[in-house]
Amino acid sequence: MVFGKLRAALKKTREVLTRGLSRLFSLGRKLDATFLDELEHVLYQSDLGPLGTRLVEELKAAYARREIAEVAQVPAFLRAMLLRRLEGAAAPLAKTTPGPTVILIVGVNGSGKTTSIAKLANHLKQQGHKVMLGAGDTFRAAAVEQLSLWADRLGIPIIKQGPGADTAAVAYDAVAAAIARKVDYLLLDTAGRLHTQKNLMEELKKIVRVVQKQLPSAPHETLLVLDATTGQNAIRQASEFSKAAPVTGLILAKMDGTAKGGAVFGIREVLPVPVKFLGVGEGMDDLEPFNPEHYVDAILSFDKIEPA
């Protein structure tokens, strides 16, 4: 199924990454300082940040406790360490009855919000849900047109106003329309904003308040879209966005490149919300539910990920 796409992408990058890893885990290597240095290097390449160093420290400790004696045991050890940090990281999308389930999409500029909405809408539609879009990015040039084109392609309704309109007003209209037309899911787009822009973060709060006027339990999901190529700044993004909006999950976009989005681990230390989906391309089918095991394997590029 769809997961094949991630595998295909990974396959392209396998060469790059496993060059480091296969040398690292090749026969006859000793668990010595050089090995640990190289391992740290490989871990850092996935944007694990300081966690890379910590994992190496944990490995050393395990060695000292004689839990680990040789290089061959290292992959399984790391895998377990990383998986432990992803406990509870997979969770299904919220669904309220009666609907609509309102999903607010937020993130920094260019992270992949609008495209992720299109993919998510497609995903939900395929599951038989009635979906509606709200064009809340009234700021960026042609953002409304961008989402409208996706709505056309998907054959789903979109609520929009002219450029420069108030996002909160669009959100209000969209919620009203979603209730009136009894849709199952309403996906609200928002303009990209840097988490350092105080007034724009305030605007986000306002959008949430306005949505709650008609549906006090909404938004049922607020998904932060992160670009997998982002480094340690992703952690700042997560903590700042979650101060302005009730972030319930992440979408990790652009996982089809060579970046691994390892900042997710650091994010979980400040914001332990699930990763709901991975974006693996620019098409509407390029979305995959998050699977911690596959993800960790991708980080470590172990052979399990290899398509059969």
């Binding site: 047109e145 840097l194 988490h195 700042r236």
Partner: protein, 478 residues
Amino acid sequence: MFDSLANALGSAYRSIVGQKVLTEKNVDEGIRSVRQALLEADVNFQVAKEFIADVKQRALGQDVLTAVDPGQQFVKVFHDALTALLGGQTTGLPVTDNPPLILMMCGLQGSGKTTTCAKLALWLRKNKKKNPLLVAADLQRPAAVEQLQSLGKQLGIAVYAEPVTARPPEVCRRGIEHAHKFQHDVVILDTAGRLHIDELLMQELQEVQARCKPHGVLLLCDSMLGQDAVNSAKEFHSRLPLHGLILTKVDGDARGGAALSIVKVTGRPILFAGTGEKPDDLEEFDPSRMAGRILGMGDVVGLVEKAQSVIDEKEAEAQAKKLQKGQFTFEDFLSQLNMIRKLGPLKKVLGMLPGVGQMLKDVDLDDAHFKRIEAIILSMSPRERRNPEVIDTPRRRRIALGSGNQLEAVHGLIKQFKMMQDMMKKLGKGGGFGPGGMGDLEGMLGMGKKGGPQSGMGGMGGRGFPGGRGGFPGGRRF
């Protein structure tokens, strides 16, 4: 973890006070923490390693200057090395005797190409008196053409576009013909975002290049990029090759270590930095400023430049004199507050300073504090503003009432003001603005502090700072 590399270096090297030269041993002591701090700024692992080895060589054998904190000296060595690396190959935009000048933009998805195309066109029109044409060759992302057209319309810049069914290399070629015909002296080609491992799309980019023979290919790099930045940049460079880089979203708080990595692996310079969403938020790249940022030192140079643009030199000079003589009044204070406010939101201004910014970063600062102080001062009579001594309790009560504040707030402000006057008098006789001084500034603004004061910053505030040009409204050195 360390908040900033400057911090890490500062504390690592404070220990070598009293030693005469930087030696292998005392340099090594701090290397690991330095590396960690670089990695945290998203400098690529390999690049960090090589860079540190370089700098170590430079540092070894240097005399420990008695005048400065050794930690600070080491920070300076790093800062200079980073600046040299980031700015070493500065070339500016390409030029041609045979217009139009053709510039081609490329990069990963979401790196900011379309917006930057418009910004660059505007910059060229404003600063180089050019008449640019934008060519909409991103036919991939829905409504990318409309986005460019809409920006063009907004800025009054011509845009060449075709239906999205056309092929990008063709569109670019015809766009250039169009530029010849309509006497545009610059053409900027906006291409679709693409992954460096997407073979088909990378070939398409090469085809655009082969057909259009751009004078310069510019790679757009998001300043938030992580470790993978080197992989993509290397690939784009090996395919095209690149003339230079444009760093985007610099107005965020990413430390931007990836910028260093990209410069290092491509050997190409960063020409511009995108500093905001508005069309005129594009600046020529300043290596020293970026070095400061990667090190986490704050943007002293930027602040000073900004200050120069909004602050009346003469008045500042006059105030500085008064300040030193202890003749500083509430009127002067008010006019300074207004100058500072012109610099932008307080938090942003402070964030640009190494010492203060670090110390006050946990303080809940907002411009409301300014407004409150302003209200109190405005409720004073001109005489009171000039002679704070005359403000007795009944007067204070009146001022509190008039400004809508508690009496305590008025007491507090006046007390702090007097303390500042005293401190400034001392300062006027030499010495530095240490952490104690900052404490007073804090009190002055009546700010609640969330965390405790930063430790280990003692050396930062006092003596001017590498890369900083000194000079701040009122104070001579900061």
